[in-house]
Amino acid sequence: MTTCRRAARSLAECLRINHHSKTYSIPIRAFASSACSNEVAQAATETVTPTFDPNTVTSIKGERTLMKTGVLPVGSRRRRAAVKTSDNIPFELLPYQCFQEARKVLMEDRQEKLELIKKERLRISNLLAADYSNKPNGEQLKHARLAGMRQHLEYLKIQADINDPLIKKRFEDGESDMTKPIYRYLADRKWRAHQHKLIVQRIDQLGIVPDLLPQFEPTAEVRMAFGKRVVHPGEFIDSRVSEMMPRLNVQVFDKGERLITVIVFDSDVPDLNNDGFTSRIHYMASNIPMSPTDTSLPFSHASKEDQLVHSWIPPFAQKGSPYHRYSVWVLQQESGKLNVEELRQLKREGGNLRWIQPKFKLDPIGVHVFRSIWDEGTAGVMERAGVDGADVEFKRKKIEALKPKQKARGWEARHAGPKYASLRKGRDAHLKRVVKKHTRGRKGGH
């Protein structure tokens, strides 16, 4: 009996490997049937070119074969075995009574919402067809009503899908389709839960808002990386890392294609003539198409004819100057395509977003910030970029007090002599030196 079972098991394993694409439903008990033996015969001929499914492969050999082809098996071997022996019922059809009842309730609600959407669409089309010209402020009234109705329509679209467990699952798995409003809504909510708060805090802490723009509220998620080095907002970046051009990832949460402009500002350039700081444009590119699905924005891919305005200068902070804030601005172009030749007239030095933004009708939607300070690599970076001034070191000018220096008084003066040196032993070393100098000065004066 036992040998028989063992043989059956090996046969069953053989079957599993070969007929993995079917849902596995042949139990081990079925070894006695004649149909099975036919299949075994087939299997024996097919073992020459076995194919493995990464979802259900359990044998070490199968895993190795898969990995050689570059496909990694999914999950653990235990999970794969479970998947293989279960009947692979899709999630929404799992036979749990309460779950199915709940799904019924949710589907009903969804149907109601779809009806409402249909009705709202009809209302909008009726309003569009209606004549408002004879009413006072007719056009304005129509626009206001339309805006309200469209907003309500968007709300209904989200409400129709917000309770769907499969949509939630797909969003959590990162398989969201950003052309659909529900996924954009979920992504926006997730961004606002943490990343939005973080960037708002950094904008506030680093003084980006009063220094570069009077007010700003980010509405798009901006992520940045130099090669593989991911930059978190406000981070200090080594000058050798930031020598190469970064890659932006801009996720907008409202639908539609739009053109954007990207500007990188250094807002802490020391200005010796005015004894203050100015700003400098390190990179600028315009007319970059952007949509919720198309998010990647490598700086190096800007075309020289109609996109690149100012090429990349690597961030450099000269020795002795306080840390430089580099802010990467993503601005939406309100007036369509911009003329690059006209933009090239902008000077790098002293470029200021406060007047660039209204002049070219740019609407700031996102920002990213990083910082830089003089380090070992800065001199080399400046040399390679052809920027001179690597040998300059900034120092604070010391201003001598107008008041004469006060002599030591009280206990210190009385115990300043060598007689009390033991009292000062090991502590107040700097004070001792000061006191000595004073005594010497006095001697010289007399």
């Binding site: 779950f99 799904r103 309730v105 949710l106």
Partner: protein, 163 residues
């Protein structure tokens, strides 16, 4: 082996603190010196000790953890439940609102039925506004059936009372 009743479990840490520290009788009479510098006693809040004791007790059930799909099913059921409850509440409040509106409409109709200056103008309206008998025939609100006090009485209701 003591029985692990809940009361005993509750009292165990307290008992442990009340009990005298274990006295190990040493052979020598001189005071024994432990190696190294004397260790600092960390004063832990007894409340924290108690919380830890109960949370880490083997009889305390582990925190509920659901697998991915089970969590998702749970979420689905929860959303459906909340949706159903909200719909029911909205329906109820809409019904109440409708009833209130219809009453006020009827009152308004009665009020403006007769032209002013007539002898019986607004008579029906005045009768409709009377609150007579709403607490039963010749009754008073149940709040006034008992002397108003700050705290409830020792005996909440005397069921055996007859007139």
């Amino acid at each position: 082996m003591p029985q692990l009743t809940p009361l005993y479990r509750l009292l165990t840490p307290l008992l442990q603190t009340l009990r005298s520290p274990p006295t190990l009788r040493s052979f020598s009479t001189t005071s024994s010196l432990s190696a190294g510098p004397p260790k600092k006693k960390v004063n832990v809040d007894p409340r924290i000790t108690l919380i830890r004791y109960h949370l880490q007790h083997p009889k305390t059930p582990r925190p509920l953890k659901l697998s991915r799909l089970r969590g998702l099913r749970h979420w689905t059921i929860h959303r459906a439940w909340m949706l159903m409850r909200r719909k029911r509440e909205e329906k109820e409040s809409a019904e109440l609102y409708r009833m209130y509106q219809s009453m006020s409409k009827a009152n308004e109709l009665l009020r403006t039925m007769d032209p002013p200056g007539m002898k019986d103008a607004g008579r029906l309206y005045r009768i409709a506004q009377e609150k007579k008998g709403i607490f039963g025939h010749g009754g008073v609100p149940i709040e006034y059936a008992r002397w108003q006090t700050d705290t409830p009485g020792r005996e909440p209701w005397n069921h055996g009372w007859t007139r």
